[in-house]
């Protein structure tokens, strides 16, 4: 995978796209969790969300590098 992508001739780190993608994935998972009412069973939803995001971001990042 290239580490930088040219957007309109400006080099943008691929990680930025990974960040956005991870954010979107987290939003989808978050929506699913809320939809199926899983949050009431979780001690600290905000922490869970953050962890999911970090897992996603790290996973995509590892895939790129």
């Amino acid at each position: 995978m290239p580490r930088e992508v040219a957007v309109f001739d400006a080099l943008v780190p691929t990680l930025l796209f990974a960040f956005v993608l991870a954010g979107l994935l987290t939003l989808i998972i978050d929506w699913l969790l809320a939809r199926f009412r899983i949050y009431p069973h979780i001690w600290y939803p905000a922490l869970l969300r953050l962890s999911i995001f970090i897992c996603m971001f790290a996973g995509i990042g590892l895939w790129i590098y």
């Binding site: 400006a10 978050d30 809320a34 949050y39 939803p45 905000a46 922490l47 969300r49 953050l50």
Partner: protein, 721 residues
């Protein structure tokens, strides 16, 4: 042993109990403020550390972002962050475009900037809370990115990217900290406000039933409650857990509450009129039914405290509605035989209004009682289907003027900058544009900006101490953090109280703007003092602009709002097809909300706006009812007089006054006569005819009211002319 335990008990009750109370009070009132300030500090330091780590140019932008978006409740932080990101991104894109087009031609460049800022300010007047903030940002980001870039056009892209990176760092720090560290959810606030509103409303019913007072003074408060709840809900929907699931249901409940309150107002107006006229039997009978309704809404003479109790009230209301017909026939039997026709009509109108009120109250209570209970997904979907369409209503002239004000501030400061070759011109323009656009939607921009000026002075002093007495000793991150923390804590504390919030915000912004370090110490006393003077001048400039183009506190703008409200009634009368009841309510509410009259009920001119609002709701509903009832009627004997009623009411609202009022009443009388005569041909079924008569009678009696704003406003107009 016994004595010991007794003594211990004494100590416990004497010392421990008050301590427990004090602890609870502290936890409820002071602890959130304490937590907020700590969160703010941690988030700003985190933002500073990350920016320094990545060697960004201005760590202070990240810190300023944290300070700006940080709020007590997590949901608010999310909402504000989201819109800040949106606004900044758009602003940066536009500034790149304008620089690419006009950088060699400063006049054209500044002209374009002024136009863009004007458009954004106007946009911020159109939208509410955080959305309007995004517009303001899209406008003034142009100053922050575009103006420095004019001096070094080749760096535009770099400046833009750095700016957005810093802001993103600030946003991420703020949202993370506020979500993870002692999170405080809007959901709780929302539920509490909702409960309080239900209680307040039933309390008001109880007290007015006892004393028979007018609701003129309390109703605006309830309408204001609807606004504030809507704002809370807009932020709460950004929190993930429950709020989003419930947002549809919540909107519906808000709508139902507005209907309940306007129906109640209509009934109350009728009561007041009967009180003034000498119709004691009718009034007494109506009162007795109303008191039964109120009893159904209360539990042992008090309002419901929880949703469970509300459920019981819902049952009581249901019972009341089942027995309503019987009660009415009992009351009807008590009416004296030789009663005048119009008195009988008064009674029937009252019954009709009570019927509607109880029906709506029942629906509202049912929704409230079941709000937090678990409903199946199917229910939620059915709720989603009847979703509320939001309409916006605004006065184009006022919005345009706000835009012109923002553009003028930029233009005048830029002129001074160009003519005098002012070293701190960019700083002055930035602050000037920020202040003259940011407070455009505040209920009273003048006061806000005066406070802002005080805060700017405070921020300058703090900045001076920090830059030239503390930072010079600071070595390493922790020393740096120690040097800037006191000012952050102080300004953060100021922002927690509504009265000092603008002061705190200004302290923050000015302090951060002058913070003299990036990767090294870079403060310079001469630049500092120059910039500080530029800031104050810029704030003065926007104060002047708010004074020149005063849209919120001037009498003129109030009269325009009143006129726009009247225009809505004309719309009700004339539009084909007629607008719906919800739409009318939403439009009227939106107008008054923008004018900010509800927050300032003390002033005469604002009182006038509220009077018009109430009059509009009263008459508008009746007109819409009438139009719904005559839909599909072809018989010219009926349609013509009804149309003349609509025309004359529209005319009355176009130019209120006694002569037009008499014309309208005459038209109504003729229409009522026509309906009476129509009896023979039987083209109308009984229920429909009765409905028409009642509504006509209701409008007629409302128009006859000599205290109504329709009559008294004539003097207002004369005074202004």
């Amino acid at each position: 042993m016994n004595v010991m335990s007794l003594r211990w008990f004494g100590v416990k009750s004497r010392v421990l109990m008050p301590m427990r109370v004090a602890w609870r009070e502290w936890r409820e009132e002071d602890a959130p403020i304490f937590a907020y300030v700590i969160k703010l500090l941690i988030a700003s330091l985190m933002a500073m550390w990350i920016s320094l780590f990545f060697e960004l140019d201005q760590p202070r932008t990240a810190m300023m972002t944290v300070a700006i978006v940080m709020q007590m409740h997590s949901g608010m932080v999310f909402a504000k962050s989201f819109y800040r990101m949106l606004g900044t991104t758009i602003g940066i894109m536009i500034s790149m475009l304008i620089i690419a087009l006009f950088v060699q031609e400063r006049i054209l460049f500044l002209l374009c900037m002024a136009i863009w800022i004007g458009i954004c300010t106007a946009g911020s007047m159109l939208f509410r809370n955080h959305q309007s903030y995004a517009f303001v940002l899209a406008g003034y980001t142009l100053c922050i990115v575009g103006l420095p870039a004019t001096l070094h056009p080749e760096q535009t892209f770099y400046i833009g990217v750095t700016r957005i990176s810093e802001i993103m760092i600030g946003l991420i720090c703020a949202t993370l900290v506020s979500d993870l560290l002692f999170p405080k959810r809007m959901w709780g606030v929302m539920i509490n406000t909702m409960r309080k509103r239900f209680n307040d409303f039933s309390d008001m019913l109880l007290s007015t039933a006892k004393v028979g007072a007018s609701t003129q003074s309390v109703l605006p408060k309830f309408i204001a409650d609807i606004f504030s709840l809507e704002n809370i809900q807009a932020s709460a929907s950004m929190e993930n857990d429950k709020s989003r699931l419930y947002s549809q249901r919540f909107n519906l409940m808000n709508k139902e509450f507005l209907q309940v309150s306007t129906s109640y107002h209509a009934f109350n107006q009728l009561q007041m009129r009967l009180h003034n006229a000498d119709t004691s039997t009718v009034r007494a009978l109506l009162d007795s039914i109303f008191i039964q309704l109120v009893r159904a809404v209360s539990m042992d003479g008090r309002s419901a405290r929880s949703e469970d109790e509300a459920l019981q009230i819902e049952r009581q209301l249901n019972l009341f509605r089942q027995m309503f017909v019987d009660r009415v026939s009992v009351a009807k039997a008590q009416l004296p035989l030789g009663m005048a026709d119009y008195e009988r009509l008064n009674f029937d109108t009252g019954i009709e209004l009570l019927n509607r009120l109880s029906q709506e109250l029942h629906a509202y209570t049912r929704r409230y009682a079941s709000f937090t209970s678990h409903e199946t997904q199917k229910d939620l979907q059915s709720v989603a289907e009847q979703s509320v369409k939001l309409v916006t209503q605004f006065d184009p002239l006022l919005v345009a003027l706000a835009g012109i004000r923002g553009a003028l501030t930029l233009a005048s400061l830029a002129t001074v900058w160009i003519l005098s070759d002012w070293g701190s011109g960019i700083e002055a323009i930035t602050i000037g544009v920020v202040t003259s656009t940011l407070f455009a939607t505040a209920p009273s921009p003048r006061n806000t900006i005066l406070k802002f000026m005080g805060g700017a002075v405070l921020g300058t002093i703090l900045g001076y101490i920090c830059n030239f007495h503390l930072l010079i000793y600071a070595q390493g991150f922790w020393m740096l953090a120690l040097a800037i923390s006191p000012a952050i804590v102080f300004a953060g504390y100021l922002t927690t109280k509504p009265s000092t919030a603008p002061i705190g915000a200004a302290t923050f912004i000015v302090f951060m703007m002058h913070l003299g370090f990036n990767s090294t110490f870079s403060a310079n006393p001469v630049t500092f003092v120059n910039d500080a003077i530029a800031d104050l001048l810029a704030v003065l400039m926007s104060l002047l602009m708010y004074g020149l183009i005063d849209l919120s506190t001037s009498r003129w703008s109030r009269l325009r709002i009143a006129k726009a409200l009247r225009q809505l009634v004309i719309k009700c009368c004339m539009d084909k097809p007629s607008i719906s009841r919800t739409e009318l309510e939403n439009r009227a509410r939106d107008l008054v909300q923008r004018a900010g009259s509800i927050q300032r009920t003390g002033e005469d001119a604002d009182q006038m706006v509220i009077q018009w609002l109430l009059s509009l709701l009263e008459i508008g509903h009746a007109i819409i009812d009438l139009r719904e009832n005559i839909q599909g009627l072809e018989d010219p004997v009926l349609v013509l007089p009804m149309n003349s009623v609509f025309q004359s009411v529209a005319k009355l609202y176009a130019s209120p006054g006694i002569s037009n009022r008499n014309l309208a009443i005459k038209a109504i009388d003729q229409a009522m006569l026509a309906i009476d005569e129509e009896l023979a041909s039987l083209a109308l079924e009984y229920a429909r005819r009765r409905q028409l008569m009642l509504m006509l009678h209701f409008i007629r009696s409302a128009l006859l009211d000599d205290d109504s704003v329709l009559v008294t406003s004539e003097q207002h107009m004369l005074e202004v002319a």
